[in-house]
C-alpha cells in the first residue's frame, strides 16, 4: 500500500532529483556510452567503435603529456597548499600582532575570481618587464620567459593555484587548532617541551582528520582548477601546461571531437570516483578517531 507520506516525500524530491539526474547522473552514464561511439561528422552518423577511442587515447602523446602534467600539478599543489595553509593557521590561531590583517591577507585570494587574478599573475611573469624578472634583474640575472617556455610554464600555473587556495584551507586548520585543549599546551610548557616537539607529538596527530579532509579537497581541485590556464598559457607552449580538464575542453569545443572528449571525461570521472572512494574510507577512519 502506498502511504500518503511516501507521495509527499516523492513530490518534495521530484524537482531537485529531475535536475540532479538530468545534469549529473544521466550525462555521466551517457558520456560513458558515447566513449564507445565515433564522433558524428557532417552527414556521417555516429557508429559503434568499441574500444577504439580508448586505444587512440592510450596512444595519444598529448594525452600522456596532459596526464603527466596533471600528476605533477597535483603532486605539487596538494602538499604545498597543505603546508602553507597549516603555517597560516599556526600563525593566526593565537594572539599575534595584526591578527585581523593577517587573516584577511591570507584569505582574500579565495574570494577573487581565478580568471581575474590570472591577469595580474600574467603580468608578474612577463619576461624582462614583469615583477619576477625585475627582482631577478636586481641580482643581475637574465630575464626568464616564465610562461612562454615549456620548462617553467606548468610551475608558473601551479604557483597561482597554491596562492589561490591556501587561504581557503587555512580556515579548516584554524578550526581544528581551536579544538586543541589549552591545558595540553600548558602541560607541555611545564615539561619544557619545545614547540617543534609539541607540534609533531600533539598538534599534528590531533589535526590529522582535518589534514585528510583538506587533502581530498586539494586533490579534487588539482583536477578542477584550470581557469587560469585559459588566460595565462592556453595549455602551451606545446602542451607543456595543458591539464586534463583543459584538454577535454580543447577536444570537445575547439575541435568538436565529442566522442574523444567523452572518452577523456570518463578518465576524469574515474579519477574523481577513486578520490571519492578514498575519502569514504578515510572519513570512515575519522569516525574511529573520536
Amino acid at each position: 500500500m502506498i502511504k500518503r507520506e511516501w507521495i509527499h516525500a516523492w513530490l518534495l524530491l521530484l524537482p531537485a532529483l529531475v535536475l540532479l539526474f538530468g545534469f549529473t547522473h544521466i550525462p555521466a552514464v551517457q558520456t560513458f556510452i558515447d566513449s564507445f561511439w565515433s564522433t558524428p561528422r557532417g552527414r556521417r552518423p555516429s557508429t559503434f567503435v568499441g574500444w577504439d577511442n580508448y586505444a587512440r587515447m592510450t596512444a595519444d602523446p598529448v594525452f600522456l603529456r596532459v596526464m603527466t602534467n596533471n600528476l605533477i600539478y597535483a603532486a605539487i599543489t596538494i602538499p604545498a597548499s597543505i603546508a602553507i595553509s597549516l603555517w597560516m593557521a599556526l600563525f593566526v590561531h593565537r594572539r599575534i600582532m595584526g591578527l585581523g590583517f593577517l587573516r584577511m591577507a591570507y584569505f582574500t585570494p579565495t574570494v577573487l575570481p581565478l580568471i581575474a587574478v590570472a591577469n595580474i599573475w600574467l603580468f608578474f611573469y612577463l619576461p624582462g618587464f614583469g615583477l619576477f624578472d625585475q627582482i631577478r634583474g636586481l641580482f643581475g640575472l637574465r630575464p626568464v620567459n616564465w610562461i612562454g617556455q615549456p620548462s617553467t610554464a606548468l610551475y608558473s600555473i601551479t604557483a597561482v593555484t597554491v596562492w589561490n587556495q591556501a587561504g581557503f584551507f587555512m580556515i579548516f586548520f584554524l578550526a581544528a587548532l581551536q579544538t586543541i585543549p589549552e591545558n595540553l599546551r600548558e602541560a607541555a610548557a611545564l615539561e619544557g617541551t619545545s614547540r617543534w616537539t609539541f607540534f609533531w607529538r600533539v598538534t599534528w596527530p590531533l589535526i590529522m582528520p582535518t589534514t585528510l579532509f583538506v587533502s581530498v579537497n586539494a586533490t579534487i581541485n588539482a583536477f578542477r582548477m584550470v581557469d587560469h590556464v585559459f588566460v595565462m598559457t592556453q595549455g602551451g607552449p606545446n602542451n607543456a601546461s595543458a591539464l586534463l580538464l583543459y584538454y577535454i575542453y580543447d577536444q570537445g569545443f575547439r575541435f568538436w571531437d565529442t566522442a574523444y572528449a567523452a572518452t577523456l571525461t570518463v578518465v576524469m570521472v574515474v579519477i574523481l570516483a577513486i578520490i571519492g572512494i578514498g575519502q569514504f574510507f578515510l572519513l570512515d577512519r575519522r569516525v574511529h578517531y573520536r
Binding site: E5, H8, A9, W10, L12, L13, P15, A16, L17, V18, L19, L20, F21, G22, F23, T24, P27, A28, Q30, D34, W87, M88, F91, V92, I96, G98, G100, L102, R103, M104, Y106, F107, T108, P109, V111, L112, P113, I115, A116, V117, N119, I120, F123, F129, W163, I171, F172, A175, F213, N217, R224, D227, F230, L245, Y249, T258, T265, M268, L272, A273
Partner: protein, 287 residues
C-alpha cells in the same frame, strides 16, 4: 624571591629567554612576510589601476592618482551588461537552489519512504562528479532544450545542488522532534511546517550556503564560457577573459582596472563581512 635571583645569575636561563624572544620575532616576521606576499598581486593590481600607465613599473609614493583606467576599461567593453548578467545569474541560481534543495532536504531529513537511502547516496555522488566536468553532454542537453546562449542555461545544471541538500538535511535533523510534533498537532500542513518551523531555524545554514554559492557562481568560468556566445548572456568572468585576450595592445593598467571591476563587489563584500564569510566557508566545508 630566591628563585628569581638564581635565574638572573644563571646564564643558561637568560640565553633560553633570549632564544624564545628570537623565536617569537622570527615567527611574527614570517607571518607578516607571508601576508605581504599573499597580498602582493592584489596590491599591485590596485596600484596600476589607480595610476597612469607610465607608473606600471615605477613605484613612487607621490605618483598621480587617476580613475581614468576604470573609465576606459568600462567603456572598452560592455561591462555594465556583464554585471547585470552576473547579478541575474547568481540571484537565479541561489533562489532556485534554496527552494529546490530545501524541499528535498526536508524529505530526506524527516520523512520515511522507500528508496530513501539509495536516492540520498545518489545525491551525495554529485559532491564528487559535478556538472562542471560533464561539459560535452550538458552542452548537448542544452542545445536539445534550445537553451544554448541563455543565462538560464548557465545556471540550470547547478540548481539541484547535492551540497545544499546535504547541508540543509544536516540542519533539519537537529530541529527538535517535539517542535515538529507540536506543530503537527496544531494542524499545520507539511509545507506549513517546513515554512514556519524548519526554514526559520535553518537561516544561518542558508546564509552560509548563500555566501559560498554566490562567490562560486560569481567566479565560475568554464561552463559559462562554453554555453554563452553573446554580450547579452556573458557573465563578468567570461567578458573579462575576452576583453583581456583581444590582442589590441590594451595597456596593463586598463586590464587591471577591469580585473578590479570584476572582482570588486565580491572583494568589498568580503572586506565588510569578513567574519561571516570565513564562518560560512568553514561551516560549508566541514560537513
Amino acid at each position: 624571591m630566591t628563585s628569581v635571583t638564581i635565574d638572573r645569575e644563571n646564564p643558561s636561563v637568560l640565553a633560553a629567554a633570549r632564544e624564545i624572544r628570537l623565536d617569537r620575532v622570527l615567527f611574527v616576521t614570517g607571518a607578516w612576510a607571508l601576508a605581504l606576499i599573499w597580498l602582493l598581486p592584489l596590491a599591485y593590481a590596485i596600484w596600476t589601476a589607480f595610476h597612469p600607465p607610465a607608473y606600471e613599473t615605477r613605484f613612487e609614493l607621490f605618483a598621480p592618482l587617476t580613475l581614468d583606467n576604470f573609465v576606459r576599461a568600462w567603456n572598452a567593453a560592455p561591462f555594465a551588461r556583464y554585471f547585470l548578467n552576473t547579478i541575474l545569474l547568481v540571484t537565479m541560481v541561489l533562489t532556485a537552489q534554496l527552494v529546490l534543495c530545501t524541499l528535498a532536504a526536508f524529505a530526506f531529513a524527516r520523512l520515511e519512504f522507500p528508496g530513501k537511502n539509495v536516492l540520498f547516496a545518489l545525491v551525495l555522488l554529485q559532491l564528487m562528479v559535478m556538472p562542471d566536468i560533464l561539459l560535452v553532454r550538458n552542452y548537448a542537453t542544452m542545445s536539445a532544450l534550445g537553451l544554448v546562449d541563455t543565462i538560464l542555461a548557465i545556471g540550470l545544471p547547478y540548481f539541484a545542488s547535492g551540497f545544499a541538500i546535504f547541508l540543509l538535511r544536516q540542519t533539519f535533523k537537529t530541529v527538535p522532534k517535539e517542535l515538529d510534533e507540536a506543530a503537527r498537532v496544531e494542524g499545520c500542513s507539511l509545507l506549513g511546517l517546513l515554512w514556519r518551523v524548519y526554514v526559520p531555524l535553518a537561516k544561518p545554514t542558508m546564509l552560509a550556503f548563500g555566501l559560498v554559492s554566490v562567490s562560486h557562481h560569481w567566479n565560475n568560468f568554464l561552463w559559462p564560457l562554453i554555453i554563452t556566445s553573446s554580450v547579452e548572456t556573458r557573465p563578468l568572468t567570461v567578458g573579462l577573459s575576452i576583453f583581456a585576450t583581444t590582442d589590441s595592445g590594451i595597456e596593463w593598467s586598463i586590464i587591471n582596472a577591469a580585473t578590479l571591476i570584476t572582482s570588486g563587489p565580491l572583494l568589498i563584500g568580503f572586506l565588510l563581512f569578513q567574519r561571516q564569510f570565513v564562518q560560512s566557508f568553514m561551516r560549508a566545508g566541514i560537513k
